[in-house]
Amino acid sequence: MDSDTRLDWADAYLAAAPTGDLFAGAAPDMAGHWRAMLARLATQATDDPATLADHVARQAADLGLAFRLTGDEQERAWPLGPVPLLIGAAEWSHIERGLTQRAQLLERVVADIYSTQSLVREGKLPASVVTGSPHYWRVMTDTPPPNSHFLHFYAADIGRGPNGEWRVLSDRVRTPVGVGYALENRLALSRATGDLLSAMNTRRLAPFFAELRRGLAADCARSDPRIGLLTPGRFNQSYAEQAHLARYLGLLLVEGDDLIVSDGRLFVRTIQGLKRVDGLWRWMDSRFLDPLAFDGGSRIGVADLYDACARGGLMVSNWPGAGVIESRAFGAFLPQLARAMLGSDLILPNIATWWCGQPRERDHVRARLDQLVVGSAFDQPVAGLPDAQFLPGASLDGVQRTALLDAMARRPMDYVGQEIVKLSTTPAVIDGRLAPLPFTLRVFVARDGSGQWRAMPGAFARLAGHGDIRAALMGRGDMSADMCVIDGKPVPPDSLLGGRAPAIRRIGGMLPAKAADNLFWLGRYIERAEMTLRLIRAIAGGSIEADLGPSLASPTMTRLVALLAQWGAVPGSGAAVGPLCATALGDSRQPGSVRALMGVVANIGEGLRDRLASDFWRLVRLPFPRFDGAVTETLLEASSRMIDRISALAGLAAENMGRGDGWRFHDMGRRMERAINGCRLISLFGGDQASDDDLTVLLDLMDSQISYRTRYLTGPALPPVRDLLALEPFNPRAIAWQAARLAEHIAVLPTLRADGMPEEPRRHADALVARLAPLTGDMLTMADIADAESRLLGLSDAIGQRYFLQVHKTESADILA
């Protein structure tokens, strides 16, 4: 793209931009930044601006950014637009002051509702505005939070009108959904645009997150607190965001069943036993927190968490019940409450709202129905507004209008009227051109270490694909974008952690029992997938190299196929080689097929989102290689490609995973599965009657052909093969080698005993090593192999009993055990 086209890009946009557009309406200094930024982006998009969008989207995908819409099975790719919104320091400081003021007001209102209720008694706030909220929990009354901080974070959706005035569309205190996406958007954009952001003096986000973490810690009872991010689990719409934030902030990502309340204190189950938890950043509604105190139907909460809150000494952010002030009906009262409680008007007003529970307001809404939107006051389904939380009054036909007015007459408190907002636009790349799209910003404030409110200098910008963009974070067809706050002078560089450096530590925190469980089974499934691939390769390979390998009808081949069937990769052994291998490779209905196993790997990996590198996801998400069941070469090729991928996963684990307990459990999973498979294979193909074919296949399956040839000049013979595969301490495929690694891992894992006695897994592992150590290949019997296998299964059970949650097993056991 030459410089003329570059200018054209911005100029063409300006020529057609609607009034109030963020770029077109920018003051001269900001307009300069816009032009410079667009010129830079255009340079980067050498031929076609569309490539720019792809480039940013690829960065977002690499970061593992994804989300779900309600009803989605799979996560969707994150639609991140390449053009950030630019806001100058002066305009931002107005927004910042407005947000801080609102946070202070909301804090005081929530505190009043759950303590003295003076606002209600004095008639400043109708009781039925409080009780109408599904997030109001009376049981939290007189249960104050640590340091009386009901709120640690507050988020708002704000919109900018055509005259540049900002208004709050909705207040959010239940979960700060979007804050992690804002951070990820920033990372993706800065990766994709080099030094553009710092060249523009963009304010950094990192200090905000460091302060947010300090703010959470400040209200915990201990000075170096253990804080968990409580997630509803991997099916939640923003699970990816939660996992990223947990990792970024160094919080323990926990689900309800990781936690337990004992004697009114909260603990996390770890491989080192129960460990005290000082605080929770909850990403689930109060309703689900404790089935014994809130909604008895919750299966994702922690029994007696309420008691831990009531007893004191536990930080929960935001405090249960805080969500009461989120209802739209509240918007009608915040202006008066600001005057009454703060003695000032709201700097950032919300859109004008009339709650119909009051006679005068209801009459106003009825009279001006055509100029307003009508919505549910408490975000609940209400009569007369079918399928929609919000409807412009003017859009109703005669019948609908009568129905709505009738319903409103019976239950006026269920409705609000709101002014219709007109949103200003910002440039976005659509089909390779810049086009104006209406936008809203989700902005965030949080308490810092001293309890003061700080705003994140940035936002999650949502660009409307179509329709009303007030409801959720992202709707179908919407795009997100970064928002940059531009300073007049260079922003001092700031390390990610900012401020006071934390105490140096060399391992991550405590390993939760469930994470250990998942890592172990992740290892086992990956290893099982590899062995299944080797079986497929032996079967498919054997059929073409008839002279060199066993023929299809040979007893060796029959046993290979039987093993595939036993592992659930194929239904039976009747089929011809091609279809058989195709099924074992790619038929996801077969629980033991490679495709199904890799699906389980991805599933378990989801639950470990905060612990696995993005490279893991890249490998796991690669499309399954193509193959044709009728063409053996394609089966071999696909199997080899998959083995390469699994080797890459092993490489990641070997080279990139910190050597903490998490890595040990992952490695133990692989060792355990490999050792059990080794026993199974040796008993099938290395028995006393083993043929040459059998031994050749055995060496292949256990990937030890080369090792054998470097040691022996002759063809395969039983004692040396058995020694190499079962007992040799130098062969990383041998059973004894796996046993030694298992014993090493277990020896350094934490123990719960204070009396110096070995725990069960240690006894099992050491006994297994000792059992194999004195043997040599010529004295080894099949009974020894059977004994080793049963010892391995015993060890696996002992590991499960000692380290993992026993409440519910993972999706593990039935296929592999």
Binding site: R121, G123, P126, L292, G297, Q358, P381
Partner: protein, 297 residues
Amino acid sequence: MIYHVRHRTILHYATPVRLARFNLRLKPAPWPGQWTSDFALDVDPTPTIVESRPGGWPVNVARLVIESPIRRLTIESRFRAGVQGGTIAPQADDPAIGAVARAALLDRDVGPAAPAQYLYASARTPMLAPIGQWVGQGLDPDRPIVAAALALALRIRAEFAYQPGVTDAETPVADAFAARHGVCQDFAHMMVVALRLAGLPAAYVSGYLRTLPPPGMPRLVGADAMHAWVMLWCGPTRGWIGFDPTNGCITGDGHVFVAMGRDYADVAPMDGLFVGGAGQSLSVMVDVAPEEEPALS
């Protein structure tokens, strides 16, 4: 009337429950016109923790934990209760429904028994349009509230079949309404929904009925287990009045109040977490007997 109330529940499990954490809501909460004394709770096997906690509503909650494996759980509560006599009936100067609905929105109280707490839909009492259609003009704003609510209770008794066993504690009110049958819990939920659809504060009440009627009176339906009825706020002057849609009456001195909430979930006699324990079977025995008055010598 003074009653001796005894309520025993026995649970059997085919496979043992390894850990039980549960709530019991069996001790009557204070309520105007009723006193309670000598409450006793026996649980076998003996639980590790028994403590009371606030329930948020006019409810007494006891928290229990049993940490040893159990196959059988017996819970028995006993108490004495005095219920004020006197019959409540519609009066000529009762407020109109519309006036009560407006007064409820103006009320400045968010306490446990404040009308504002009972105005809105809850999980088990969704605002079902078919119930509103069925009520028709029955709760129009100009009707006197007590008479209209009594008429509604009578209509529920007349048009819905009382059939124990066709519904259970988890049956949605919509299903019971559509099938035109159920037990006290279903009827109470239906009536609560109908009243709230008219903008009125209506609550769900759990309690007991006198087991054997006074001589010459018919036996009330629902006396062999815990009973449920409806509390309706009838304006600042008349306050809360109980209506029993199962028996089509205003509650009287045969009804012993235990707890009040927005729906069954708030007052469920027992709920909680039972780890393990498949194949549960349940037997319940309730006895509500008038205290023998000492014979005059």
